[in-house]
Amino acid sequence: MNIVVLVKQVPDTNSERRLTDSDHTLDRASADVVLDEINERAVEEALRLQEAHGGEVTVVTMGPDSATDALRKALSMGADKAVHLSDAALHGSDAVQTARALAKVIGTVEGVDLVLAGNEATDGRMGAVPAMVAEVLGLPALTHARKVEVDGSTVRVERETDEGVAFVEAALPALVSVGEKINEPRYPSFKGIMAAKKKPVTTLGLADAGIDAAEVGLANAATTVVEAAPKPPRSGGQKVEDAGDGGVRIAEFLAAQKLI
């Protein structure tokens, strides 16, 4: 079973993250960048499926040259090969453009049975790209998976939402996006790290992937960030005087926030 995992390099959530002043796109230079944690889980799930069913795991990313590091991390964990879509014209692409571009890149990988992705990246937090990619490719989309099983040509997923868990299935090929609870990703082993440098990484420009430059990039995007403001500093919060009913009022507050 051949699996493509969509991965993304994002600013480390431990570092200060910001948008550039000039065009409100992500400021990649001012933060340490890492392979998004949810993508590590997607890669882990792909490797577990590969261990059970065989086939090849290909990691795909769209991003600047530095995104090679994110691919290398995934290869060190055990993925077989990588495809990197990198072109200056992609700068500022929105979710729809990104999904179309990724769909083209997935099309360059032969015999794909399953596309895996994280359900939401920690930088933009759109959470839309996986379903959009499925739409463009005409694949069934099984999103927010906390468990994935493949049986012959069927993929079964436990889909977790705020309301509960849905048990859904689809015929392969399909796209699955995974949530935080899917697994604990492995550490890259040193043998894996040493082997990764010998694994094939294909770098594609727009033309190589058959993407029209007029359809991507900030100038052609359907959505644009027109203004951005930092989150206001935390206020003092809400004070509850205990008049004998403190416990009940705390419980009511937590229940209203859906925390209990």
């Binding site: 340490d32 060190s76 082993s189 790290i193």
Partner: protein
Amino acid sequence: MSAAAPERTTARAGDLLDVDRALGDEERLIAETVRRFVGEHVLPEIEGWYERGVFPRELVPELGRLGVLGMHLTGHGCAGASAVGYGVACRELEAADSGLRSFVSVQGSLAMFPIWRYGSEEQKRRWLPGMAAGELVGCFGLTEPDSGSDPASMRTSARRDGRDWVLNGRKMWITNGGLADVAVVWARTDDGVRGFLVPRGTPGFTTRDIHRKMSMRASVTSELVLDDVRLPEDAVLPGVVGMRGPLSCLDEARFGIVWGVVGAARTCFETALSYARTREQFGRPIAGFQLTQQKLVDMAVELNKAALLAHHLGQLKDAGALTPEQISFGKLNNVREALRIARTARTVLGANGISSEYPVMRHANNLESVLTYEGTNEVHTLVLGHALTGLRAFQ
């Protein structure tokens, strides 16, 4: 920050010279991976292990899965990393605790290395894959109760009896001794010093752990007792005769120490810096006082010099050009300065410096062992004295 901001720096408070910029992609990923591993598996527990005097045996297979054990060796399940890669792994391990790095040094450089370098194919097949995987533990028996800096004076002997070997003697201060499935024991023979592979459970071979330690408490240190231990002919390492054997192993391990202590010193420095910035006396952070700044700057300067030295020796080793005298240089300087940094950091923390709430005193205590083992400060000084003058102050 402007668009010309440097890419890919591991911006840490004390890395004034951006020393890690010289790392390759694999080495960077190795450092990151070990840092994450110790952050998740070691740092939450280390103070407790240290206070109770416990080595976390359960981590050994995890270290094996990671690929740390014998990582700089090739084949037989070893990762085949560069010397610099091995160095950064040692640095990140010892940033947590010198005992953990000592385990890895002994396993990879003192037990696996002699088997890999001097062992027969059969010995390599029998031991190396299990040791790389962390299923088997090794130790290295050279030092004796009355034979430390002068290892050639060892009393442990191996004599021929028919085709067998019979070993007698005692080895002391042996890291991993009580854990070891196999001991690499160096003994005098009629032909000179030779190495023997002594499996755990061989009749006449026993170990006793040394418990009353004020240093390296999260590490197993033992005595090996060899009382008419009968070994088959193929227990001897065929590839080396003479002191060159054990000394070459020590060069491997010392290289790891040169890097490792940079990690211990870094932890002490970072602890002192963060403490000094938040601790207030006379109404302001003590980091603003000139005497404290002097301490922080002296620590940072020595830390960066030690890191540079480790990188330089790593590059020499990867080029196959590293000499024993250069390793002495590195061990002498980096351990001495790491210990100074740990002690200075302790003073910055005041009374809190002696508490196990902070890692500083633990590192300082550990470094007292590192100062002595694998060649004392004094011996490395005299190795360099000989290199400079051509005159031997000992032997």
